[in-house]
Assembly symmetry: D2
Homo-oligomer: 410 residues x 4
């Protein structure tokens, strides 16, 4: 296969992607363009620029972009309209960021005339799949380079040797193995690997990075009111805010109260199980509140339909099929249901839990007139229930009659 | 319609079902047989016997049965194998008890030669549907009498007048309206109506009956280990226990730590929304732990299949179709997946949350060898991922190529 | 309940709806407005006008509307985008016409200030449900009158007596019972009841009205080419035609060749099974051709998704939920998938069968380059399949290993 | 990778698998064991034995097995219980045979101490996946060799050269390319490739091998009565027959009448579309009849549930996941629904169509008493329909009221 001439690399500025950067240069003799995204991971990005320059990247080839609003508006919010949970629990914090990164890699490749993009995901995980399926859907001709599947730097020692041989600076605390691997963005922090590899062993406290340990969370509950319009959060406590600001605020409040911790074993698309620890403070509150506002504004027909397709929708995102016709078709369904998902929810935060305690909306379908224990002034005729039940029961009676008839003959 | 001659009544011993009892006697001049079940609702049942005798029921017509083991073993546990949540949140505590009660009503009707059964559910709720669909499925010829849909006792005043006119004892605290309505059994306590009718108003503290307010829960976390066999809990902290005992213990532990509170607005089968407050301490822990053990013992194929049919399964139970061919067919699917769901989960309880922190099993599918960040000794060839991704990407590339081709022509 | 003052009646001009017309006048003393739709049922509608006048309806209260284009464009075509089949076989010809009729009844009620609408469907069938759910969704305040559920004209004799007593003309051939009941529109003719009631007895030949008996169909096959744009048929044999014209033409061609006959027992929403004979010549060809064009233009991801929700979509239409949030959400999904369902299909008609034999499209996803048995010039690397299979096999291997390990221990 | 020592090859006796046989011997120097199955493909198998001996296989290493009964009983019939159709049309005739072949390959490998199995499927198709996933599920340690993905015999010329160089006899008619590729077994004959590669070009007549051209089919219709027990066919025209005999007979009758032809473009699991021509005479009749018997014996609840999971079930079989937990769980669901699918169906065959015209069963749920247009003696109270409709309409009314309220405010 021909060597690529110009490669856009998803570059964090860390040791691993710096090694990849250098490896691309040495392996292919190609020009490297770096893309570093501010996804709200909570790190300064300017050091990434300095490091890229140090590694010989031309200033005009360094692309550092704040994608936080785009991330929340175009990826996180559409996903939350679906109440998406992978395997019943996981809020898909890493999965949902990958297509956005690929989208920028491909965009920059087109703008700079690059013939390939590269990422730092390993050959065992889901992220390689997500990066590469997204790239394929956005540009079927683009080449994707995954150095972890190609090189022979298969041990820590070899990686460090390569780094030293290539004048890549190594931070002191990177000399040893990290005790676990971390991915972070505005939606979540995930930790996996090494000390977390045995699912029978509890995760040590030092794994948790974003969420206050419940024991140290405030002794006083805090209420937060979230306002939605057409399924998306638009205000907190009455203050209208941008998508990324909303998620940032919810992260702060949720993190303070110890909300959003998850320790699970999940099924990777590539066929193995893995154990992850996820911290999703704002997302957990957002999901709770979104369910809360749907409870009064969404009809059971649309609601149950959404619930029934949600696992498939979540699986598609987890597996990397964000840019696929089936995800887009499901999104059309979900978005259609959100037209009246408008109103406000009060969530109570305390010691790790986020619980809806009140919700109200001008779009409410809740009819106190119908449900009341008091006289309902004719809103509902209880006798209707008899016919309703009798016709629902008819087939069950026919079955029972048949079964008895057959049993008698046997 | 002919008057029934002998009616089996689901009788709690409370004021409402006592009024029904008397109303059946006076309206139809029929013999009444009472059925009072110990479902773990936490009330003495002997007073129900005394009251029935007082109201003129013959001793041999009074049936008081401890159904707790049966309830958990044959109804609660099969349902928990499915991780059933109605509308994403509700653990179906009331729904799952109704078919059992109907089953006993029909059984006693057959044993005593009764030609009808009667229940005290109103015409607005789900319970009437559940009682009557179950009865229809078990005996298509049996008549079900629902006095709340028939009589003219449509106000509290009229009910109390009827009670007084018929020498039905009225406890002092029953003179006034209860501020909300309660249903309880071993799985949960539910509260609804009156002070809870406005979903924009927080539930007052006195609604909570079973669960310690989180603020007063112990300051120290507690671990509980639950062992499963084929999807059902069989032991707590290593001690093998009966189904009902397991749920009772989990209720105690969970209740102490404030676990299992839910305030939601749900969609009733009869077409309206209603707000309920649910306390399900043991069930919440059980669900968490069951998911935990499935995480390591259940394959993704079976797991995702289960997840995709769960909403429908939960809806069937909520709507009263426990005794239906479709619930039974779904149960066959679910039970088939549970053959290896065997192992132990450690759950951490603290201040309202129940969180899986460790799980282990001889039936585990988790392969540390495959997932490890360390050298895996050939268990997994990272290069396989390339072919995997390329073939998964193929159709996405064909779509992108087609779309570009069409776009150029337009 | 108060008597209605002005009622819009779905009026065919036949004996039954004429009796209903008169019954409404005499029972309620109300003004009656008639709505007669040309749905392509193949009957002259002017006689309905004359008969209405004869029965005392004011000319301005007679509404005769040609709804054929609307019917096909807004109801039939959207449904065919989904390949909707109820219970695997039924093309929903009656079901899909009912919401349109209700829509016009409600519209005319609004325009004429009527306070009720009325229909001639019986209390045993699905049509009452379809009419009334549609009306409820379009105007929650409108009253629907279903005389067949209200009156005491429960036998043929009583109906004829009522007709005679009220000077309703009775055609000679209507004196006796019809041997079966018929519903017809541009999409299909359905027959049910009486001679068809025993599903073990073959339908007599005289039941078939629209389709040439296969034995008498031409001995020579005929090809028809149907062109689609975004999922809807737009041309036949290269001639661009309106929706209703397309269906009319396909009915002619299909009918001639004996295509589109179905004899089935189906499950009614009201709980019983019924046997119907359906003749859907044009619809059967349209479905075949639509599947044919989807085969080359629709991706497997979107296609399998559509297939998986189709049964639910068909059930919703059958049950009368056309105007429901869940049907509309599913429609959004389906329509999203049709954006590239554009191209032409050749269908071969002969002696009762309609079979796709060729299809082509500028939007085709079919890649001869990839699929060819010849050398493919590098389009596809067969070695990719190895990694693809190995990762798909991984979880199966882990299961087999686990099962063997557990079996050894037992 | 080490060379295998003993390989069990799926051997047809044809040129291609003979070349593979020899290639295995020369490439690995290994012992080859052949497995030739009589799946009802309609070929003599003794020539395969002679040819294997000629190629140097020891007689004790030649395994020729008649698997027809096993094939129909354990694979075809369970699948037909589900009414499985891939992409709405394909009866899965090739897909369902592959796991059976793998099962025997693995069994023979265990019995003969072989360390690998081999098949002759190419790297572009589905069969390689089906063979290898089945093998992995049955023995996670077994090695599967797919020579078409490994060797350099990438053209017809090279293959023939290899054959000649290795004294493999080449039938005269195998010198040139076959105009298309064929797979056959008792369920179907499939043809694909070369002259069929352009889906816009009609398949030439000579492609059809098993089914009489419709034009030449008898002018007189023929009736066939198929009796089912628990979902499986057990008798034809009253004669009790073994599974394989039933399918054989239906093939004869159906083939004679031109039944069971399908020309479609389908989506392969490996990501491309391909065009196939399928001839499935007996299977087409069997599917029609099975649907017919389900119509009267299966409840709508179970029936609609089956329909909703069918596409997934069919996809699993198509993709090669017969031996997977999810297929087995779905099978448990399906089998549960078949307990009363017992009775007889009369199917009319004529000129390419197979149409159910009558069905009867002691297990019938059809109630003439309920459905009749005549007086029903109180079986059904039409007034029940009013309550049924009103409660089904309630949510639609609440939505309409809400929407109007919101619209007024905007």
């Amino acid at each position: 296969m021909l060597k690529p001439k110009k490669v856009v690399l998803a570059y964090s500025g860390g040791l691993d992607t710096s090694i990849i950067l250098k490896w691309l240069q040495t392996e292919y003799g190609c020009e490297v363009v770096t893309f570093t995204a501010d996804l709200g991971q909570g790190e300064e990005l300017e050091p990434a620029r300095q490091k890229a320059i140090l590694l010989g990247i031309k200033p005009e080839n360094i692309h550092i972009v704040d994608v936080r609003e785009e991330f929340v508006r175009d990826f996180v919010f559409p996903m939350f309209r679906a109440n998406a949970l992978y395997e019943g629990l996981y809020l898909l914090g890493t999965s949902i960021a990958r297509p956005l990164i690929s989208q920028h890699l491909v965009r920059i490749a087109h703008e700079t005339g690059a013939d390939a993009v590269a990422h730092g995901a390993t050959g065992k995980g889901n992220d390689q799949v997500r990066f590469e399926l997204s790239a394929a859907a956005l540009d079927p001709a683009i080449r994707v380079i995954a150095p972890w599947r190609l090189w022979d730097l298969t041990s820590r020692t070899k990686l460090l040797e390569f780094a030293e041989a290539n004048q890549i600076p190594i931070a002191k605390d990177k000399r040893g193995e990290a005790p676990f691997s971390v991915d972070a963005n505005l939606l979540h922090t995930s930790s996996e690997g090494r000390v977390l590899e045995d699912p029978a062993v509890e995760a040590p406290d030092y794994v948790y990075q974003r969420i206050t340990p419940v024991e140290q969370a405030p002794e006083t509950p805090e209420m937060v009111e979230i306002t939605f319009e057409k399924g998306d959060a638009v205000a907190i406590n009455g203050e209208r805010l941008s998508p990324a600001t909303i998620l940032t605020r919810l992260n702060e409040i949720g993190g303070k109260h110890g909300v959003g911790l998850l320790d699970m074993v999940e099924n990777r698309f590539v066929g193995m199980k893995s154990r992850g620890v996820y911290e999703t403070p704002g997302g957990t509150i957002l999901m709770e509140a979104h369910r809360g506002i749907e409870q009064i504004t969404l009809d059971s027909g649309a609601g149950h339909l959404k619930d029934s397709i949600m696992p498939r929708y979540a699986e598609l995102i987890y597996n990397g099929f964000w840019f696929s016709p089936e995800r887009e078709a499901l999104q059309a369904l979900i978005d259609k249901t959100q037209e009246h998902v408008t109103g406000t929810v009060r969530v109570k935060l305390y010691k790790g839990s986020a619980r809806t305690v009140a919700r109200w909306s001008e779009h409410s379908l809740y009819s106190e007139k119908h449900v009341t224990f008091e006289e309902d002034a004719g809103a509902y005729d209880q006798k209707d229930a008899e016919g309703f039940i009798r016709l629902n029961a008819l087939r069950l009676k026919l079955i029972a009659t048949r079964n008895a008839r057959v049993a008698r003959k046997v």
